[in-house]
């Protein structure tokens, strides 16, 4: 039996999966043309509007791979990644991720990962404005941790240099599609669903409101 896993092209995170009995090794490309809807946990509390992230990952960022069927992957696909064509279970998500975007001084969303990461770790991020009728703000970015990023003061690691400084990823968020990228600060305040995919780690998907007063907000 085979299954098709849909994962991000750059970081390998599996975001969905399906099996097909009649044609298990079909070309899945046509099924990705509309992108992939990724829904996160939606919290429901008395007196509070239900909140849960929904992002659409563009087809360009996706890849589909046919693998031997693993039932766990069909039920909890986001616990897995495809690395070099092999299925691996993600380790726990990166904690303490900071998100920062300032109305006064920044045209960018800055995301800081305080956790030490191995060189060449791929980080892929998508931020998408949600929850109102304004123009859809969608940004994504890719970062590969630089092996030469100094200094290497952490304990020696057999795999090489450990990046023990925070890794910052900056995504430009402009006021609309008519403006040049990064041209102006956030003029459409609102909620942004943000997905941070660090290769080999479970996805981090949160909602943050921008713009903010200066100062970082630390993810739960």
């Amino acid at each position: 039996m085979k299954m098709t896993v849909i994962h991000t092209r750059s970081s390998g995170h599996v975001l969905a999966a399906f099996s097909a009995v009649a044609d298990p090794e079909r070309d899945p490309t046509p099924l990705l043309e509309q992108g992939l809807l990724v829904r996160n946990t939606k919290s429901i509390k008395p007196g509070v509007s239900p909140r849960g992230e929904e992002l659409v990952i563009a087809a360009l960022e996706l890849e589909a791979t046919v693998l031997d069927l693993v039932s766990d992957v069909l039920d909890t696909p986001r616990s897995f990644s495809v690395i070099n064509g092999n299925l691996v279970r993600n380790v726990s998500e990166v904690t303490g991720v900071q998100f920062n975007a300032s109305l006064q001084s920044s045209t960018q969303l800055t995301i800081t990962l305080p956790t030490a990461l191995l060189p060449e770790t791929v980080i892929w991020i998508q931020a998408e404005r949600i929850g109102n009728d304004g123009p859809r703000e969608l940004r994504n970015g890719l970062l590969v941790v630089d092996a030469l990023r100094p200094p290497a003061t952490a304990s020696p690691d057999p795999d090489g240099i450990i990046v023990n400084q925070p890794v910052r990823v900056m995504l430009g968020i402009s006021s609309g599609s008519d403006d040049p990228p990064h041209a102006s600060p956030l003029t459409f305040p609102g909620d942004y669903a943000i997905m941070v995919l660090v290769a080999g780690r479970s996805p981090v998907i949160v909602t943050r409101e921008f713009p903010l007063s200066p100062g970082p907000i630390i993810a739960a």
């Binding site: 299954m3 849909i6 975001l15 969905a16 999966a17 399906f18 099996s19 097909a20 009995v21 009649a22 044609d23 298990p24 079909r26 899945p28 046509p30 099924l31 990705l32 509309q34 992939l36 809807l37 990724v38 829904r39 996160n40 946990t41 939606k42 919290s43 429901i44 509390k45 008395p46 007196g47 239900p50 849960g52 069909l74 039920d75 909890t76 696909p77």
Partner: protein, 396 residues
Amino acid sequence: MGDSIKRPTFYEGQILAATDLEASVQYARNQRARHDRLQHSWGIVEGLRLNPEERQTDSGVAYIEVSLEPGMAIDGSGRQLVVTEGLRLSRDDFRQAGVVSLTGDAADPPTYPIFLTAVDQPITATDSLTGSCGTSAPRRMEEGAVLEFGRPGDELDLEEQIPPAVDEGPDDLRFPWRILLGYVRWDNDIRRFTEALDDHDGIGRRYAGVQAGEVTAPNGELLLRSNASGTSGAPAIRLRADEDESVMSVGLDSGTGDLSNLMWLSSEGDLTVLGRLRGKLSSRNVLLESGVAFDGTVLPLPPGVTEDQVAGGEATLHIQLSPRTPPPARPVGTFGAMMQRLDVDPDTRRVNCLWRFINFDLLDATNPNVNVFDEPGSCSYVVMAQLAEDEEEAEQ
């Protein structure tokens, strides 16, 4: 109208002249040529392959000797070209033919076409018989065939050769018809052939054919073979009148001449195919796909059904979803799970599958911390595609 065909006739006591006997021979010869030219198409009938034999020079350089095997061809005038015994291609003749190109790309050396053409050769009388006035002339004509070496590209004009008029016999050989046998490559340094080819750039050996509006078998079975009988794996088509199970079959030669069927049609119209049928299907077929899909994915269509068929209304989809075991709840506690949403977008076929989890440990309507949340999950699905009738079928 052109000249009519004249059949020689004779009467008792007639003094036969040489022209009368010649007319008898020509009548039969021309009739045969018209048949071969007009009811068949020109080309190789049998044999006439260029066979290479690998050799080495004294200094160890590889080359080949090329020989032509016996066989027969029919040219565009309807003339038979018969090679009765094997013939080795002469390197001297090739060099003297004046076709060798002294320039060219060493990585892609020129290919020289080899043609067969007809030639008549009078045979000198070996006896002392003469005519009534002491005249003498050859009494036999040898219908020969000779090899001709062409320049690269000469093979491009073969289809432009002009056949004789319909009432004429074989060509008078002022412009001998060329039949392509293959190609050779030549090494100018060692002055030898290095390669023999059947075709080059899509132009190769042409075989004789049949021109007919109807082909009828006398014994109730008609067989079309792609190769000689007994060629293992060669495809063939058979029509058989006395078999209910397979009035028509397509198969492969098993190596003994028998056909191993791949597909056959019965006299009832039932078609049996051992492989898979691919392509656009119709006629109220119902095709299925099933499996498991996670929230957010687009359900695959059954094999053979295209997105265009669905968009154009040629295929109607029936989709059935069933919940699977809910995914494990992430927070710690005692949770209950219920299906919150399970449907599919009719336009995009995107699955919406959400489970609602309730923390029984905090189950109190007044407790602001009551922990209720929705999680995406997976479901089982069946997609059935019902294909619409063709317009022609609907009219029937």
